[in-house]
Symmetry: none
Subunit: 201 residues, 4 copies
C-alpha cells in the first residue's frame, strides 16, 4: 500500500497530451516546442520530460488517444445503428467525419500532423499505422458483412475498406489544408454514397 503523496502521473500525462493537441491545432507541430507544450499543459519544460522520455513519445501518446476517441465515438453510434450492416457503415463514416457537431477540429488538425510526422519517424509511423489498422480491420469486417449480405461473398472487402478510409483521410487533409475545396456538409453524404456503391450490386 503506497504511502505519501498520491501519484498523479496519469493525470499529468493526459494534461501534457492535451497540451500538445492544443498547440498543434494552433501552431502545427513545428510550433509545438517542449516549452510550448509545457506552457499549454501548465507545467515547466522539465516536467514534460519527467512524464515522457521524449517529445516524440508525447506525439505517439496523442496518436493513440485520438484512436481511442474515434473508437469510442464509433461504438457510441453503433449502439444506435441497429443490425443492418449498410446502416452501420454509414455510422462508421459519420463517426469519422463527425457529422452531428461532435467533431473536434483540433483532432483533425492533429491527425493530419501525425500522418505527416509518421513519414519521418518510424516510431510515429507505428503508432499511426496501429490506429489505421484498427480502423481498417473494423471497416473491412463491416464491408465484408455488407458484401456477404448483398452479393454472397466478402470478396473485395479489403479494397473497399482501403478506398473508403482513403476518402476519409483525404477529406481530413483537404479540409485542413484547402478548406474551400469541399462544399460544406457534403463530405459525409458523398462518401457514404461512394461507399455504398462498392458494396452493392
Amino acid at each position: 500500500m503506497p504511502r505519501g503523496r498520491p501519484k498523479n502521473t496519469e493525470a499529468r500525462r493526459e494534461q501534457i497530451v492535451e497540451g500538445l493537441l492544443d498547440v498543434i491545432a494552433e501552431h502545427g507541430y513545428d510550433g509545438a516546442s517542449i516549452v510550448a507544450i509545457a506552457r499549454a499543459a501548465g507545467l515547466a519544460p522539465g516536467g514534460v520530460h519527467y512524464h515522457f522520455k521524449t517529445k516524440q513519445d508525447v506525439l505517439i501518446a496523442l496518436a493513440s488517444r485520438l484512436g481511442d476517441t474515434l473508437r469510442r465515438r464509433w461504438e457510441l453510434r453503433m449502439s444506435d445503428a441497429g443490425p443492418d450492416p449498410l446502416v452501420r457503415l454509414d455510422a462508421f463514416i459519420d463517426a469519422h467525419l463527425a457529422l452531428q457537431g461532435s467533431a473536434d477540429p483540433r483532432a483533425v488538425a492533429a491527425w493530419v500532423v501525425i500522418a505527416a510526422e509518421s513519414l519521418r519517424r518510424p516510431e510515429v509511423r507505428s503508432a499511426y499505422a496501429a490506429v489505421v489498422d484498427e480502423r481498417l480491420t473494423t471497416l473491412r469486417s463491416l464491408c465484408g458483412e455488407c458484401l456477404r449480405e448483398q452479393l454472397g461473398s466478402a470478396h473485395g472487402a479489403a479494397a473497399a475498406a482501403a478506398a473508403i478510409l482513403a476518402a476519409i483521410e483525404g477529406a481530413y487533409a483537404l479540409a485542413t489544408a484547402a478548406p474551400q475545396s469541399i462544399p460544406p456538409g457534403t463530405a459525409a453524404p458523398t462518401i457514404r454514397k461512394m461507399a455504398r456503391s462498392l458494396l452493392t450490386a
Copy 2:
C-alpha cells in the same frame, strides 16, 4: 553579344528541386537540410541560397513542379481517352494514381510532405492550394460533363469532385504511411468505381 559568364539559374534551380525531391523521398522534409539538398544537387550549401531565397522556396518550387507533372500526365492520357466524359474521368484518376507504371514514388512521398508542410507555412499552403485548386477545377468540369450527360444537370459536381480528389489524396497518404493497408493494384479501379457511382443514376 553578352559578355561574362552565361546564366544557368534555371537549370540549377531545376537541379536543386530535383535534389529536394530525392532527399524528401528518402528522409522526409525534416531530413532535408540545406546541406543534404545541396549535396543531392551537387552543390555547396551556399549554392542553394544563391538560387533560392529560402529553403521554403525550394519546397514551393517543388510543389508547383509536381503540379506541372500531374497536369502534363493527365493531358497525355486525355489525348487517348476520346470524348466520353466517363472515360475521361477514368483517365484523370489513372493519371493521378499512375496506373501503368509511370508513377514516381518519390513524387507521392513529396506530395504528402507538402500537404503536411502546408499546414504550417502559409506560403506552402498557397502553393499546395494552387495545385489542388487546379486539379479540382479540372475535375469539377469533368464531373459536370458526366452529370449533364447522365442526369441532365451538373448539380453536385463540386461535391463529387471534392470527394474524388479526397479519395486520391487519401490514397497517397495511406500508400506512403501505411502501405500494407491497400491491396496492390486496387486503388485506381476502386476509386474509379466510387467516382462513377456519384456521376450516374
Copy 3:
C-alpha cells in the same frame, strides 16, 4: 515556499551584459559573436539566448546599463557639488569625462559602438536615444539654471546643452579611434571652459 530551482535570471543577464562589455572593449561589436559573449560570461552559447531573445537585446541592455552608470556617477558628484549651477555643470562634464580615474575605458569603447550600431538598428537607436535624451534633459535644465542666474533668461539652453553633449560624445569618439589627437588631461577642462562661455556673458 517555492519548490524547484530558484531563478537567477537577473544575475545571469548582468553577467552576460558584462561579458558583452568585455568583448566589445577588446574586439568591437563585430568580434562580439554570441560564442564570444557566452564565453566571456562563462556560459555555453545557448545560454545567452536563454536569457536574451536576441543578441541585439543584449546590446540594448548594455546601453541602458551604461546610461544607469552615467546617471549614478553624476548623482554621486552632484551631492558634493553644492548649489552653484556652474559648479554643478562642471560636475556633469567631469562625471561624463570621468576625471578622477573612475573612468571605465571599456564603457567608452562600448558607448561608441552603441552609437554606431544605433545607425543601423532602429531598436538600438531607441535605446541610445533614450540615454542621450535623459542626459540632454538634465543638461538642459542645468544650462537653463545657469543662464537664468547669469543672464536672466533660459534662452539658448537647448542649443548649449546639445553643443556640450556633442563635445562630450565627440571626445569619446576621438579618444577611442584617434587617441593621440587629444592631449592627455585636457578634455574635461577644455570642455568645461567651452561650456561656461555659452552660459555666461
Copy 4:
C-alpha cells in the same frame, strides 16, 4: 604608349566608392554588402573585387574621399575669409558643419560609420586617423595663430583644436543618431562661440 581600350579604372573606382556612399547612407554599413555596392555602382559583384582587393579597401577609399571633400570645401571658404584667424576659424567650423546648404547628408552618415568601423579594423582606423590628423593639424595651426595674436603665445592650441574637433564630430554623431537633440541651425553658431572662448581672453 598604351594601345587598345583605354583604362577606365579610376572612373570605375570612383563609381564604386560613390555606390558605397549611397548604400551606407540608406542602409548603414551592415546593409552595404558587396552585392548592394555593386548594384548601386551599376556593376556585377565580381566587378567590385576587380577594382578593389577587399570590401574594406572600398571603405578606406571612401574615407579618404570624404577627407578630400572636406579639405576642398574648407579651401574654398578660406579664399573668401580674409586674413583674420578668428574669421578663418569660423570658416573652418562652417565648412565642416556645412552651413550654407552644401552639406551632404550621405557624407555625414558615412563618416559616422567610418568612425565606428575604425574601432574594429586597424586599417580603417588608419584611414580615419589620417583624415582626423589632417583636420587637426589645420585646426591646430589656426588655433595657434589666434592664440598668438590674442594672447601672445600658442600654448593650448592642441587642446583647443581637439576640443573643437570633438564638438564637430559629436555634432555629426548626434545629428545622425538622435537628430531631435540639436535645435535646427544652432550647431555651427554655438560651436563657433565655444571655439572663440578658447582662443580669446
